[in-house]
């Protein structure tokens, strides 16, 4: 798989005739990326440290603080995550209870950690395939490890786009709570004795 190729190799050429180029010249001109492989590699091998350290600190924090309990999916989360998705796509009217993080968030925020771990492992497997030959073996060989490493990167892009769109849709109050750790909700006083059964009401 020719990924990270220094020059444009992403094309379909049959008998010397190029039928299709995935990335036209303007794409490279706008992003200023051709012939900068060495620079890209240098950035990559610096930011891999930040990526890994950031991941380690995050996992340590969520573990020690107990926040992981709000983040790790529960038994019902996978089914509920589907309902959240249907709700957010406006296919379904009602959503499962939000709580701090809803079922879809639990699944997504845990998946991203597993993905991060996957990126570190597959990254090491292709970075030092001789010294860490057992990792390369574990990742299904040099080729497959590269495909995984690249696919995970695409996964981050997808996560990032969905994440930003959701933050925008959720509005300022939600964003503010992300920064400050609390959300202000004004509620009208409720009657103390419920007139209906809450459990039935919730469905």
């Amino acid at each position: 798989m020719l990924i990270y190729w220094a020059n444009d190799e992403y094309r379909i050429t049959i008998f010397g005739h190029t039928f299709f180029r995935f990335f036209p010249d303007w794409f490279y001109a706008t992003l200023k990326i051709p012939y900068r492989l060495s620079e890209g590699m240098a950035f990559h091998f610096l930011f891999m440290w930040f990526f890994t350290l950031n991941g380690i600190l995050y996992i340590l924090y969520t573990t020690i603080s107990g926040e992981w309990r709000e983040l790790v999916p529960k038994k019902s989360s996978f089914k509920d995550a589907w309902l959240v998705l249907l709700h957010d796509l406006h296919i379904r009217k009602t959503a499962p209870p939000q709580n701090k993080y809803n079922a879809a968030q639990r699944v997504a925020y845990t998946a991203i950690i597993v993905m991060g771990l996957g990126s570190v492992v597959t990254g090491l497997a292709i970075y030092k395939p001789v010294q860490f030959y057992y990792l390369t073996w574990l990742c299904g060989g040099y080729h497959f490890a590269r495909i995984l490493h690249f696919a995970l990167t695409l996964g981050y892009v997808f996560f990032f786009v969905v994440h930003i769109v959701q933050v925008v849709l959720a509005g300022w109050g939600n964003f503010s709570s992300v920064i400050s750790g609390f959300e202000v909700i004004n509620e009208k006083p409720q009657t103390v004795i419920p007139t209906t059964n809450d459990d039935e009401e919730a469905r």
Binding site: S38, E70, P129, Y133, G181
Partner: protein
Amino acid sequence: MKSPKLLFQQQTTMKKPGKKVKKEPTIEQQISRRNFISFSAFTVLAVGAFEGWRWLYKSAPETPGITAGAHKPLRRALNKTELFFRRTFSDNHLVKTYPKSMAARHVRVNSDIGVEAKKKFDPSTWKLQVNKKGGEILEVSLEELMALPKTEIVYDFKCVEGWDQISHWAGLKFSDFIKHFQLDEYAKMDYVGMQTPDKGYYVGIDMPSAMHPQTLLAYEMNDKPLPLQNGAPLRLIIPVKYGIKNLKRIGSITFSNNRLPDYWAEHGYDYYSGL
């Protein structure tokens, strides 16, 4: 675990005039205070991250020397990272080998720097030059090298550009070469350098990688003498490095305790480039 969300009833704030005693801050004050602190911290971090990135992106290039062409801080990071990952290097870690049947028939020729076809080169008059102390030069013919024990390897040759290819090579181990020509004291030095006869391409290699049991001075490919474009008469095959270090057509070998010149390290690539 309780949700940290602060739920509270709508508050009717009542101002009690006249009292100057320090009071508990009202809920509104607590909210705005915490918001102020968190948003200030967020802004500082966000601006810091952005400025840090800009600083790095616009940082000056390194002073050209043995290495060149990279941003100064990035080169520092590459060199520090090398020191870290060098600790994982071991002669016992071998590159994966394959059966001969899996070796490519058409071995990719990716670069001809230093071995350009238009340059005049006669393999029959070629001799390997080993630069020894005090300007002494040891000359070795291909016949002498071929008389030594031959080692074969079929492995996945890897390029920084992203391609890799299983290929079949044969030659003598670099470590056998050192032993046979009694160069042991030179092998105690930290680096070995190799150049093409025209000095157009050159690599510098740390001694542990050069002395790795799979490092070959190769003169055969697919059981036949090396073709010119693949590095005849003698080339370096060093599986613990990317392709950029696998010099074709070795003209001379030099030893040093300092890093020796390396073509791609002068063009922004990592000096170590180890696998």
